[in-house]
Symmetry: C2
Subunit: 457 residues, 2 copies
Amino acid sequence: MDENEKRLQEKFTQLKKYLDKGDKKRFRKTYLDMHFYDQSTFYLTLNKDERLSIYTILEPDEMGDMFDTLEDDLPEIPEYLNEMNLSYASQMLNDMYDDNAADILEHLDKVEVDRFLGQMPRADANNLRGLLHYDTETAGGIMTTDYVRFHEDETAKEAIGNLKRFAETAETIYYLYVLDNHDDLVGVMSLRDLIMLDDNATLKDHMNSDIITVNVDAEQAEVAQVFRDYEFLAVPVLDHSNQMVGIVTVDDVIEVIDDESLQDYSGLAGVSVDETVQDNPLKAASKRLPWLITLLLLSMITATLINHYEGLLAEASILAVFISTITGTAGNAGTQSLAVAVRRLAVEEINRNEFFKLVGKELLTGFITGVVTGASVLLLVGFWKHNFILGMVIGLAMCAAITVANLAGSLIPMLMSSFGFDPAVASGPFISTLSDLTSVLIYFSIAGMFLQSFVGA
Amino acid sequence: MDENEKRLQEKFTQLKKYLDKGDKKRFRKTYLDMHFYDQSTFYLTLNKDERLSIYTILEPDEMGDMFDTLEDDLPEIPEYLNEMNLSYASQMLNDMYDDNAADILEHLDKVEVDRFLGQMPRADANNLRGLLHYDTETAGGIMTTDYVRFHEDETAKEAIGNLKRFAETAETIYYLYVLDNHDDLVGVMSLRDLIMLDDNATLKDHMNSDIITVNVDAEQAEVAQVFRDYEFLAVPVLDHSNQMVGIVTVDDVIEVIDDESLQDYSGLAGVSVDETVQDNPLKAASKRLPWLITLLLLSMITATLINHYEGLLAEASILAVFISTITGTAGNAGTQSLAVAVRRLAVEEINRNEFFKLVGKELLTGFITGVVTGASVLLLVGFWKHNFILGMVIGLAMCAAITVANLAGSLIPMLMSSFGFDPAVASGPFISTLSDLTSVLIYFSIAGMFLQSFVGA
């Protein structure tokens, strides 16, 4: 990787020199020979004046190839678009793959969108408007309409000829979608299979008619699963009347997978972890505080509960010593079971029958975990304090607190999911703060029952 | 999706009928028309007798196409291989894509591997042995050697002709790798570009010679990043003498991305979350207990620390009321900063300079978070207990505890990473248990200083 990077830095220096000297020809040659992603890395190093002169050197479609690789949520994009002249920006957006153009438009306000679309040919503008219509996290929100269509009666030779026409604009030409006279999708053929056919073979006779499709409303996570299972490079998207409206390509699916795992990870952490090195401490703190303060309020309920038992604590201040051991360990167990449950929900749907089976299993898992941990703490406390009755109280409380935390950790995300919420929102910090409350309640109830015996022992 | 599934179930029923009746011809037709992944789903529903009869109906290469889609860590695979006869199994492994075959062999013991390889042509066996040699989580461990090679002097027409030869065996034919007379990789061309060329154009004149490659030792996460950036379908792998030894394809990269995110998620949760619904509670508990017991021991240190302050607690049992509020909130803050740090480390390398800058930023973020949270708790406690000096003690302790937990949450993974450990191992439960210790220490130190004023107030 390092060598790639060094070579790239040299090119960037060269390019800046050409730009300074106004050597458009050499600039174009060096720039256009680079990968689109490298072009975008270069573009992002430029200041406004440099960018303005680039717009005079490169054609809108050349600019669009590079913009296709930019992250659509890059905060600078609106600025870039506004510093171009309107017709240049519109043409660039129109020359981009339509899914990427729609993703960029998604982040602009309505007036801006209308300005850009107003400059495009009516059909292209309507196409983009159609894409903007879909929910971002569905198949419709990530699909492109730039795919290759063929008629079932075409021969292999005709198809290859036609493919050359598509190759300029289609997002992928490696899957051919075969339609019948009613424009219904009746088959798929890979370019690999097409290349191996005799010139006169018709598509109809050699296409794969066992077509895996996704619905335009399918959640993006569901679409990603299809790619994992079938190892496709693209999958066709159908609307409600089973007409093909687009394809989702594998590069977008990689983004989806990253997105989904970032959401799960953020959920477990109780903070949105998309902070970048650029985030200043004030902004970072403002992202973390809402959850922290909410959970602080929840933990104040735990404090009032302990306050309620102040009499017990005054009699046996030794009880205070083990509060954090019990709440901490139960919280850890709850976090574990939460993570397992959220991950399971991400991978499979759970019906009613399985729901109760899983809850039963998790209860048993919690109990086994609780017994082993409880027994450990019984021995630790017993030997340390030479008081096995106290050890038993702590051990019992630990066992019960872990069982309850474990159950909560799996039950809460499962309930959330069955009521249609994203289970990943039930964060680790939430579960451990909630389990503090139940653990304290369990601990002092048990301690209260045995108070005489272990204080007396 | 549901409709896909229903249609599939019908096919499976049909297939089982053909199998029962011994109707080999119809079975082959229906089975081979299905997608490889659907074939594997069907295969996994069969009992041993049914599987044995399948081996007599399908050729080893047809079986191999299906085995290519199986998860390589499926625990039943050794059983499947052993119930086939040896030469059938070896031929099937040899007909699979070599990266997938190597992944399967990876899970067998050495004697088994030798048995299968012993049946293969020497060159194929050596090729697989070579792949087994690489670390699983590197480019070498996930690459295939089934890629398409062309000489730079070939014309487009020759190349397309040759491609048909490769199309049977190569894992992808959508990227063509162009070699010179020394077998050095000098260019890459996509099939898309090839198709658009005139018949007599030579590859040399139209190939892309700005080649992005990965080293055979590169970590799989690094390889995944190349795919994210460049949106490739495959990337060439070079050995230490810059000779091309294979390619990594996008389907394997999706697996890598899933792997890596599962590892991060498991790290944050303090448990390996690859538990399936099949895991019984005993097995699930045994996966969770090691971390729990380890952290229990750490939390016992916190208990001895509180024990050390028992005198203080006896004088002011009100202090016990806020232990869990302070430890819990600081633990939550630590988990947040840990998650942000681990995620940042996954995305970018951090040099020495940035290290200190990031630590400074995180310290400030923690302090801001601490001040806001501390002020909130000051007010809550002040009004609740009508004692603002007590409120100030709790608030100060909270502020300091959060600052420290935040710092630890980011410092520990960064230090681990700079010493070459996987930062994701520093789990959320570990940070929150560790922060219990520092929080209690801070809390009682501050409370001790102000004891007279707030008990007296």
